[in-house]
Amino acid sequence: MYLVADISVEICAAKSCKLCTQYCPEANTILYSDEMGKDKGFKYGSAYVAVDRCKGCAQCVWVCDNMAKNNAIKMIMIDQLPVAALTDNITYGEKSTTAALVSPVVG
C-alpha cells in the first residue's frame, strides 16, 4: 500500500484558496470541483485528488499547512480511503470539474 493525499472537503470548501492545485508537480492530479462543496451547502467548491495520478510527495500538505494555513490535506494509505476520484471518472466543465467517486482499490 502507499500514501496518497486526501483533502478534507469541509475545510477546503470553507476557504477555497486553490493553492494546492497550483503547486502539485503532477498535471491534472489536484482538481477543483464546484459541486463537491456547494452541493453540500458550503460557500465554495472544493479541491480533490485524482488518486491514480498522485505520487504521494506531500508537497500539497506543506503548501496547505504553511502557505495557506488551512491544514486541510492529510496523507492517507490508499486502502483507507472509502471513495476517491479516478482520472477515468472525471468530467471537465467550463470552470470546474465533476468527479464520480468510486472505491480506489480494485479487487
Binding site: R53, A58, Y92
Partner: protein, 299 residues
Amino acid sequence: MSLDYVKFSSGFEKFMPKEYRDMVEHGPFGKKVSVSQMGSFKEVLEEHPMCAGCAMTLFIRLAMIAFPNPEDTITVGTAGCGRLAISQAAIPFVYGNYGDQNGVASGLSRGLRLRFGDKPKDVVVMAGDGGTADIGFQQVLHSWFRKERFTTIMLDNEVYGNTGGQESGMTNRGAVLKMAPLGKKFEKMDMLQMAKVAGCAYVATVVPNNPRRVESVIKKAVLIAREVGSTYIQAYTSCNIEYAIPTDKVMEDAKNVENDRYQFSEYITDEAKQFLTERYGYKEFLPKPAAPAPGLPKS
C-alpha cells in the same frame, strides 16, 4: 502547427482515449488559460516518469500553462531529467543531441519564419544546467550572439541529476555530491551576466514557489522572442534526490533558496519594453505619472 492538429479526424471521435478527448474539448488550445484556473481544465502535460515531488516538474507544468499560444509552440530539449516530462506533453517536442539544442532551435526558428512568415510560431528551449551551461555552452552563447529569436529556459537543479550526481558548472562552490565527494572547487557560473553581455533582450531568474511570477516571466520571454531577440530564463528547480530534500520540504527549500541566493531578477531592454507595450498592451513599462512637486497644495 495550428489548431487543426488538435482536432479529431472525422469519424474517430468515439475511438480516441479519454485523455485525448479531454485535450481536444477542454484543453488550453485556442483559448487563454492562467495558473488561477489550474485544476479546472485539461493541461497539455500528461503523466510522466519524473520523481515524486520534483520541483522541475512543477516548473515545466507551469511553463506549459504559461505559453501564450501552445498550439503554435515547439519545445526543444536535450538529455537530462526535464525531457522526461517535456516530451509527455501535447506540444511538439524536438530532442537535440546533447548540447546542440540551441543550434537545433536556431534552424527551427529560422525555418518556421521562412515557412509561416509573420504568423508567430514560438520555439522554446528547455534544457538542464548541464545541457545549457556545460555541454551546450558554446551553442547557447553563439545563438545569443546571433540574436536568434527564441526562448532559452535553463532548468537549474545545480547537479547532473540524471546520471548520479556529478557537479556541473552551475553547482555552488563547496557543494558535496555523490560523484563530487571532495566538494566543488569553483564558483557557480554567472550565466545571467553572460546572457546580458551576449545581447539577450530579456533575462530573468525565477523559483517555482511563485506560480504567477513564473507564468508572467515565461509569457514575456516568449512574446519578446517573437520579434526582438533571444530571451533567457534561469529557473531554480531543485533536485530532491541528489540534494536529499524530503519531498514535502521541496517548496520550503525553494523559498529559502529564493530568499538566499536566487532572488527574482528581471532585465529587459528598452526595445523589448516598447515592443511589449505597443504590441501586447503591457502597462507595467509605461512611464509612471510624475509625483506632484513637494510644497504645492493638493488640488
